[in-house]
């Protein structure tokens, strides 16, 4: 599972493409754990290239969000496609996870 990363100050921006569903959700979870460093102060997941996410994928996002909260690391997602956005809305996750329209907006939101 490919996750490309860049760092902006203390913020890690991780980008993943394709789909996250039942077949690769645990791979995705492991890949995320590997790219996040203990001294990252904030994490932004950029979903610009993500075409689809299932509830299994949502679960990974939720787990990550909870881990980040425990470690006092700010967490947000950005650049969701309409269909991915719909999944977040229907499941109500848009009420518990920070969603931003662009990477820039997300990074400035979490760096405050």
């Amino acid at each position: 599972m490919d996750i490309s990363t860049e760092r902006d100050g203390g913020t890690l921006i991780a980008k993943t493409g394709g789909r996250v569903d039942g077949t690769n959700a645990s791979e995705f979870q492991d890949a995320l754990k590997n790219v996040i460093n203990p001294d990252d102060q904030a994490v932004v997941l950029n979903f610009e290239d993500l075409s689809y996410i299932s509830s299994a994928g949502l679960r990974v996002i939720l787990l990550t969000a909870k881990d980040m909260r425990t470690a006092n690391v700010k967490f947000a997602v950005c650049s969701l496609s309409q269909s991915v956005r719909d999944v977040f809305t229907i499941s109500g996750f848009d009420q518990i996870i920070d969603i931003h329209d662009s990477q820039q907006a997300a990074v400035s939101a979490v760096s405050n």
Partner: protein
């Protein structure tokens, strides 16, 4: 490469079988680097009978290098006997140059490879290494297979648990009928539905999708169902029910599973329907003429995520001839081999083509349409559908 001081990663024990007495010192001398480094340890036997005795005594032997012509028991006979002692041992046969008949027989009897006399020790070492590499890969493959079998067993157990809690008979009355069904996916589990008898002749209807798979998810599913039933019987409003179930689920939720849940309460006398949605897909309301619309979401979050959440509810009235379809995303997100999703539009089209005539036939029409759409493409999620129909008085 410094041989003498290295600690080898793995050490292999090789049994050499040959009646030629000079072979032992020759091997010990020519293979001394590997012996000193600890990579190879050699044990010697002089015929097939002795070799079998060694194999019975010593369970650490990894492979056998054997001559063919030996007294008491020759190499070809030995080849047949080795798997009976240990089927994981691989053998390399030493044959006379050009002795195709014996080489052929040896291969047919399961020899992994052969080397020819006079022994070329570089060739022997290469052959030994290839054999050991093959054995390591084989062992890894077996372990993966065993893990896979164990996983499949767990999923089978989970699947049985899931099937056991789904209702197979449904209440019905003069003015209403209910029918629910689920087509499980092979390696994913997680959907459930339920019909609950409430006081005053009212009906609780639920459809849900747990986020994980396997036995832990099946247990979570059973928990959710039981909690839902308890909360439903104890109190009236769908919003309150979801709230309570959510609080109970988040209390002990170490593994962070969540469940999307749609819960509705129907009053057959008046046709009134109240519903609350926890992260689940909208229900579809189909009219007698086959037209339909999606009922609005109530904005609730999936259950099990965070405690203390409030769940709004919405209400509605079913007209005579209306059919309410509750379903899970296994329906709308079913895929075919072209990567297309079934989608809500196709679901609606089913009833445009053929307005519902009964809850059961409507349910069957949906499952059939999804199966036909997906075709050979493997079903990746449970397909669940619960239908309520208000009939003419």
């Amino acid at each position: 490469m410094t041989a003498s001081q290295e600690v080898p990663e793995v050490s292999y024990k090789i049994l050499v079988v040959d009646d030629e007495p000079d072979l032992e010192p020759l091997i010990l001398q020519r293979m001394r680097r590997n012996i000193r480094s600890g990579r190879y340890a050699f044990v010697f036997a002089h015929n097939g009978v002795e070799a079998l005795e060694v194999l019975h005594r010593d369970s650490d032997i990894d492979m056998v290098v054997s001559d063919i012509n030996m007294p008491q028991m020759d190499g070809l006979t030995l080849l047949e006997q080795i798997p009976k002692v240990d089927p994981n041992i691989r053998s390399v046969i030493v044959s006379a140059y050009g002795d195709m008949r014996n080489i052929r027989t040896a291969m047919n009897r399961g020899a992994f490879d052969f080397v020819t006399k006079p022994l070329d020790f570089e060739d022997l070492q290469i052959t030994i290494e290839r054999t050991l590499t093959h054995m390591a890969e084989w062992k890894e493959a077996l372990q993966s297979r065993d893990k896979l079998v164990a996983l499949q067993n767990e999923l089978d157990v989970a699947s049985k648990m899931q099937q056991a809690i789904l209702p197979t008979s449904f209440p019905s009355g003069e003015s209403f009928e209910v029918f629910g069904n689920m087509a499980p996916a092979r390696n994913v589990g997680g959907d459930f539905f339920d019909v609950i008898n409430l006081e005053n002749g009212r009906l609780g209807l639920a459809v849900a999708d747990v986020s994980d798979k396997g036995v832990p998810a099946a247990l979570f599913m059973m928990s959710s169902r039981t909690l839902l039933k308890g909360a439903a019987i104890g109190m009236g409003t769908p919003g309150g029910v979801l709230s309570e179930v959510n609080d109970l689920l988040t209390e002990d939720n170490e593994t962070i599973m969540f469940v999307t849940l749609l819960y509705a309460v129907y009053d057959p006398e008046s046709g009134a329907l109240e519903y609350a949605n926890g992260g689940h897909t909208n229900p579809l309301l189909v009219h007698a003429d086959g037209s339909s619309e999606e009922l609005p979401l109530t904005g609730g979050v999936a259950l099990g995520v965070m405690p203390g959440l409030e769940y709004r509810q919405s209400d509605f009235s079913l007209a005579t001839g209306d059919t309410l379809v509750l379903y899970t995303d296994g329906v709308s997100e079913a895929m075919n081999s072209e990567g297309e999703e079934f989608g809500v539009e196709r679901l609606r089209q089913i009833f445009v083509d053929q307005p519902p005539t009964s809850a059961k036939t409507a349910n069957e029409a949906i499952l059939e349409a999804v199966a036909n759409f997906a075709g050979d493409f493997a079903q990746s999620d449970d397909v669940t559908c619960l239908v309520l129909r208000r009939m003419g008085g």
